[in-house]
C-alpha cells in the first residue's frame, strides 16, 4: 500500500480523518479599502469648524415723543465705516477732526485703545455707510470686544457724517 505524505492533515491516527487546518489569516484588503472609503467620505462631508455667533443687542427704535438722555459730546467717539474697508473716526460732535484709519492692528484698534485710556466712560457710535460691507461691521464689533469697550451703539448715518467723510477723502 502506498501512502501519500501529507504535511497538513493526516490520516495516521487510527484512520481518523482530521479536518485540514486552514490558516487563520484572512485577506483584509477589501475591508481596509472599504474602511478608508468610508473614512474619506465622512471626512469630506463633515463640517468640523462650528460657526460661532456674536450676540448684539440693539436699542429699541426711537419714537417721536421719546426723550433721549443727553450725553457729553466730548465723550463720544464716532466711527464711520466707509467703502473699501476704510474707517473714519472723530471725537465730539461740533466741528470734529476726521481721521482715516484701517482695520489692521495698528489702525482702528490703536485708536480705540488710546481713546479709551484718554476718555472716561467713552461712548462709541458705529455708523456704517450704505457702501460698507457686512464684514466691516463684524470687524468693528470685534475690535470693540477685543478692546473691551462697554458702551457702544450701532446708529444710522446722518447727512453731516457723510459730508465729513467726503471731506476726509
Amino acid at each position: 500500500m502506498s501512502e501519500i505524505a501529507q504535511s497538513g492533515g493526516g490520516g495516521k491516527k487510527g484512520g481518523k480523518v482530521r479536518s485540514k487546518k486552514t490558516s487563520t489569516r484572512i485577506d483584509m484588503t477589501p475591508m481596509v479599502d472599504l474602511a478608508f472609503l468610508l473614512l474619506t467620505f465622512f471626512i469630506l462631508t463633515t463640517t468640523l469648524s462650528k460657526p460661532t455667533t456674536m450676540e448684539i443687542t440693539m436699542p429699541e427704535k426711537v419714537k417721536e415723543d421719546d426723550k433721549q438722555p443727553e450725553v457729553n459730546e466730548k465723550k463720544v467717539l464716532t466711527l464711520v465705516l466707509g467703502e473699501n474697508d476704510k474707517v473714519y473716526w472723530y471725537v465730539g460732535i461740533t466741528d470734529p477732526k476726521v481721521t482715516k484709519a484701517n482695520f489692521s492692528k495698528d489702525g482702528i484698534r490703536k485708536v480705540l485703545l488710546e481713546k479709551k485710556a484718554e476718555i472716561r466712560d467713552m461712548i462709541v457710535l458705529i455708523k456704517a455707510l450704505d457702501e460698507s460691507k457686512y464684514k466691516n461691521l463684524v470687524d468693528i464689533l470685534d475690535e470693540i470686544t477685543i478692546t473691551n469697550i462697554q458702551r457702544f451703539a450701532i446708529v444710522d448715518v446722518t447727512p453731516v457724517d457723510k459730508e465729513l467723510v467726503k471731506e476726509a477723502i
Binding site: 483584509m28 484588503t29 475591508m31 481596509v32 474602511a35 478608508f36 468610508l38 473614512l39 465622512f42 471626512i43 462631508t45 463633515t46 463640517t47 469648524s49 462650528k50 460657526p51 460661532t52 455667533t53 456674536m54 450676540e55 448684539i56 443687542t57 440693539m58 436699542p59 429699541e60 427704535k61 465705516l81 492692528k105 484698534r109 456704517a128 455707510l129 450704505d130 457702501e131 460698507s132 460691507k133 457686512y134 464684514k135 466691516n136 461691521l137 463684524v138 470687524d139 464689533l141 470685534d142 470686544t145 477685543i146 478692546t147 473691551n148 450701532i154 444710522d156
Partner: protein, 210 residues
Amino acid sequence: MSKVKMHRSTPSIDMTPMVDLAFLLVTFFMLTATARPDEPVQVATPTSVSEMPIPDRDMIIISIGKDNKVYFTVDGKFTRPKMLREMGKIYNISFTQEEEDIFAVLTTFGIPIQNLKQFLDLGREERKQIEQTGIPVDSLNNQLKDWVLQARLANPKVRIAIKGDDDATYSVVKKIISTLLDRKVNRFNLITGKEEIPEEMRKAAVKKPS
C-alpha cells in the same frame, strides 16, 4: 563558495493596527457627522473672536448672499408647516398637504411667497437648479417681516441669527436689522467664523464680564 542568501521577508504585512485605526476614525466621524444640508447659497461668513457656539435648535437664520439676496430658514419639522400655513393665509395662497410636507424638510430658501407654491411643486432636482431670487425686504414689500413673525408665533422659543456674507453691503443688513427692530427683536446673533484673540489683547478681552 556559496553566496549568503538574503532573507526574503514576506510581502504581506500585518494590517490589523491600521484597520483598527481606520475603523476608529470611521466611527468617530460617523458619530460626529451632521450631513451638510443643501444650501441654495454659499455664505462666506466673516470671522470674529467670539466663542459662543450657535445653538443647534430653535434658530431662525437669515442669510445674506454675496449678491445681497436674502434667504430665510427656521428649523423644526412642526414649526415650518405651521408657519407656511399662516403665511399662506396672509397672502391668500393655500398650500396643499403635499406642499407643506415638502416645505417641512426644505432648508434655506429665498423665494418670494407668490412663487413659493410653484417652487414646491417642482421636482427635487429641478428645485436645486433653479436660481432663487431672494426674499423681498423692501419697505413696500417686506415679506421677511411676516416670515419672522410667523416663525416666532409657531415656535416662541426661536432665536434669530443673521448670517451675512463678507461682501454683502451694509444697506441690506440695515434693512434686515430695521425689520427685526420693527418686530421688537432687539437681541439677535451674528453668525461668524472663529478667530483667535490676538495675544497682547487677551487679558483685556478675558476680563469682560459676559
